[in-house]
Amino acid sequence: AQTVTQSQPEMSVQEAETVTLSCTYDTSENNYYLFWYKQPPSRQMILVIRQEAYKQQNATENRFSVNFQKAAKSFSLKISDSQLGDTAMYFCALQGGTSYGKLTFGQGTILTVHP
């Protein structure tokens, strides 16, 4: 069975500062993918960033980057230059390579960006 754990129920950051959200996971598969999704107050799920487990290079998308530590099974999200629009719930998710795309989600971290 796959598990995803987000140990920070809530986080806050000042506008323009940097914040890091934590995620750990467990899987027995060798090939898998990791995702961070954002759910703003509208509740629309939006993909923020993805990481292939076989790639050592950390993924980056504009202000969003990850720190992928495969041996430690850790997958943290760093948001630089935080903006008010980043206020949302953030979910870490794991997809096994043979799972037909099924996602296992963490419990989420509510991020609030203060002006």
Partner: protein, 113 residues
């Protein structure tokens, strides 16, 4: 471009009543389809997924069922709702492409009273 629709957006139903939530995808063919439930303030739980017409896999035993009568239509049903069925229901699709990236619909908020 592809779009995904869900309806209704909001639903209030009494305990014991039936349920039917619908999800449709436009602009793609033979997508993988998924139903997730999000309880208040919590993460998403996968309920069902489908890789083709008439093919349904259940992830969690419950009083819900799913059907896929057409290629791009996915229906979530119940014969008798329970209080514990309340939540936010999300439909998603993927084309089996890069990392099976999933695209989510706007969701249905279900309140069972």
């Amino acid at each position: 471009s592809q779009t995904i629709h869900q309806w209704p957006a909001t639903l209030v139903q009494p305990v014991g009543s039936p349920l039917s939530l619908e999800c449709t995808v436009e602009g793609t063919s033979n997508p993988n389809l998924y139903w997730y439930r999000q309880a208040a303030g919590r993460g998403l739980q996968l309920l069902f997924y489908s890789v083709g017409i008439g093919q349904i896999s259940s992830e969690v035993p419950q009083n819900l069922s799913a059907s896929r009568p057409q290629d791009r239509q996915f229906i979530l049903s119940s014969k008798k709702l329970l209080l514990s069925d309340s939540g936010f229901y999300l439909c998603a699709w993927s084309d089996g492409g890069y990392a099976y990236e999933q695209y989510f619909g706007p969701g249905t908020r279900l309140t069972v009273t």
